[in-house]
């Protein structure tokens, strides 16, 4: 397995692609191009991508896009998707209003 955390690896220039404006994370409207750019900015783990772009932080909490984001990142790193650990989910598992949190019984 290649060291995906090694940021000294030369990824080459970012090359624009015709489908860069394809939306990958629809809740937060993050495009394929934004994700690819983030990889070139040095974000090679899925948790970094999530924190950097907010992908997977919307209504569905990544249930739809987690695998899609991973596929884009893996392709950009020229690696297999299985090499990327999905971002650790955190409680609350579903979006919830802050006032609900204060409403403990």
């Amino acid at each position: 397995m290649k060291n995906l955390q090694d940021r000294s690896v030369d990824m080459g220039e970012f090359v624009a692609m015709p489908d860069d404006d394809l939306i990958i994370c629809r809740c937060e409207e993050i495009t394929k191009g934004e994700i690819r750019r983030a990889v070139h900015d040095g974000m090679t783990s899925l948790i970094e991508i999530k924190r950097y772009l907010r992908s997977g932080m919307g209504l569905c909490q990544g249930q739809t896009c987690a695998k899609l984001v991973r596929a884009v990142v893996a392709a950009e790193c020229k690696a297999s998707p299985a090499q990327f650990e999905l971002a650790q989910p955190r409680s609350p598992a579903r979006p919830i209003e802050m006032r609900t949190f204060a409403n403990e019984e």
Partner: protein
């Protein structure tokens, strides 16, 4: 803080079964579900299930759901709906929310049976209204009575894609095509056949390139893919559809298990990230169990058994049943689960495309795998599909050519004409000694709708009895066209008998009269010869 002996998260087939098993042993059980209705996906399943009697085969999914709910209620299981579990914390404390309120509950044992969600594929226009998950289409039709669209492109030929396509047609939609990027149909051949014989074309090695339209889908562009999954230039074609249904697999909803800290593993054949479990559904954390799709994508029948194993395990671990009782129970359940997992579609076989023969050594129909119907020339090699010796006697023709776990045909034949044997993945064979009376129970009971009764007459006509589940139900005397396995009209046909007894459970058996030379071809009826 409320405390329960057994908390089940998810009121689907696995969760309810687990709750029932534990409650039967005497445990105080709470089931939580975020949906407004219990039953998970069961209430959308209007088709007859596969398996054997103990797996509730030939019973429609929603009926199984109703039975489970009844049983759970009668055992005193508490079911909380519209309640979302936010996380599982230390010492099996969960936080759930309902109506803007938070509640902490503690469970001695927790079964996570959260199910799965549909996978998506991104393509140009995939966020347009009209691109929906196949499961969403099923929810709209079968729960809410809303037709999701009129002209449908189904993307994915697994069982979900095939079953939902059939149900879309039952709802009155026109399924324009079923496509799959893989070179062969992923689901059961019998499911493909019942769609193919109505005239739906399959395009294998094809993917959706683009959903066209400004504010909703007005057409779809599909294209052929090469062995590297790249679109072959010039292969694109546009299909006029208003709905694109995506049925490209499921992913376990394992977030809760992951937040709890369960050891997870990436297993592509099981849909992705799943908890590492013991043989008895125990996760790496004491007192936390996982069953159903969340523990690896399978189907509802195996989810129910896994749920039961989890319930029995919890009951054993808390002393409600002895080790011996547990072993007896679980050995039974494991055997039952094993039966469902056998055959060429068993979960170990997922993704295999190199299987060319059945367990018995028959060569699989290539046409079935690539076009969705068996070529007539291939049929003769399958014993139960070949014409019988005396074709002037009524006899069943069973076009069941793949090893799938199912045996209702054997079960319902009171004369013992049809033999599957103890191993339920075996292909059915016709008994040499028993005589068919033409009761048609097998025709209506086969969940794959692969059984037909054929009787030729000396006068040069033949009567074909076939399963029919579309509205309006044709009437005796109706004239129309007989369609062959690929849905092409072969000859004129007249309905001579319509059987709709309660025992047939809404699968009408239509008997149509055709010229005898079409007896081996006619497999569907279209009233007036028009499209469905």
């Amino acid at each position: 803080m409320n405390r329960y002996e057994f908390i089940v998260i998810g009121a689907g087939p696995a969760g309810l079964s687990g709750a029932i098993e534990a409650a039967k042993a005497g445990m105080k059980v709470l089931v939580i579900d975020e949906n407004h209705r219990p039953g998970g996906q069961l209430f959308k399943q209007i088709h007859k299930f596969f398996g054997s009697r103990e797996h509730k085969a030939k019973i429609r999914g929603f009926m199984i759901g109703e039975k489970l709910l009844e049983e759970a209620t009668s055992l005193g299981v508490e079911v909380r709906l519209d309640t979302t579990v936010m996380g599982i914390y230390k010492n099996r404390e969960i936080i759930c929310t309902k109506d803007d309120k938070i509640e902490h509950i503690k469970g001695d044992h927790i079964l996570v049976a959260a199910g799965a969600s549909e996978n998506m594929i991104p393509f140009e226009g995939w966020t347009l209204p009209g691109v929906i998950g196949a499961g969403a289409a099923q929810t709209m039709m079968n729960l809410h009575g809303v037709r999701p669209g009129n002209k449908i492109l189904m993307v994915g030929s697994g069982n979900v894609g095939l079953v939902v396509s059939y149900q879309l047609m039952q709802a009155g939609c026109d399924v324009v095509a079923i496509i799959d990027a893989a070179p062969r149909i992923g689901g059961y051949g019998v499911h493909a056949s019942k769609v193919a014989r109505t005239g739906v074309p399959f395009h294998l090695s094809h993917t959706v390139v683009k959903a066209n339209g400004d504010d909703h889908v007005t057409s779809a562009t599909i294209g052929k893919v090469d062995s590297n999954w790249k679109i072959v230039e010039g292969s694109q074609k546009t299909l006029e559809v208003d709905t694109i249904c995506i049925a490209v697999g499921l992913s376990p909803m394992s977030q809760l298990l992951r937040t709890a800290g369960c050891l997870m593993a990436e297993v592509p054949q099981k849909g992705g990230l799943i908890p590492v479990c013991s043989d008895y559904t125990q996760t790496s954390l004491p007192g936390i169990y996982a069953a159903g799709d969340v523990a690896g994508i399978e189907e509802a029948s195996s989810a129910m058994i896994q749920g039961r194993i989890a319930g029995a395990q919890a009951a054993r671990n808390s002393g409600y049943i002895s080790d011996e009782e547990f072993l007896v129970r679980v050995t039974d359940l494991k055997k039952s689960l094993g039966q469902l997992r056998e055959g060429m579609f068993g979960h170990e076989m997922k993704g295999r495309t190199d299987i060319v023969k059945t367990e018995e050594g028959f060569t699989l129909s290539k046409s079935l795998l690539e076009k969705g119907y068996i070529d007539e020339s291939e049929l003769a090699s399958f014993p139960a599909a070949a014409a019988c010796e005396n074709e002037y006697e009524v006899h069943p023709i069973i076009e069941c050519t793949q090893n799938i776990p199912c045996n209702p045909c054997q079960d319902v034949c009171s004369k013992g004409c049809i033999i599957v044997g103890d191993k339920i993945t075996k292909l059915p064979i016709i008994s040499d000694t028993a005589t068919c009376t033409g009761c048609a129970m097998c025709v209506a009971s086969c969940p794959g709708q692969a059984i037909f009764l054929v009787k030729k007459s000396e006068d040069g006509s033949a009567i074909i009895s076939l399963p029919y589940e579309f509205l309006p139900i044709p009437q005796k005397g109706d004239k129309g066209m007989a369609l062959d396995r690929k849905g092409e009209s072969v000859c004129e046909a007249e309905v001579v008998l319509v059987q709709s007894a309660k025992a047939l459970d809404h699968t009408v058996v239509l008997s149509i009269m055709v010229p005898a030379k079409y007896a081996d071809k006619a497999r569907f009826f279209r009233a007036g010869g028009e499209k469905l």
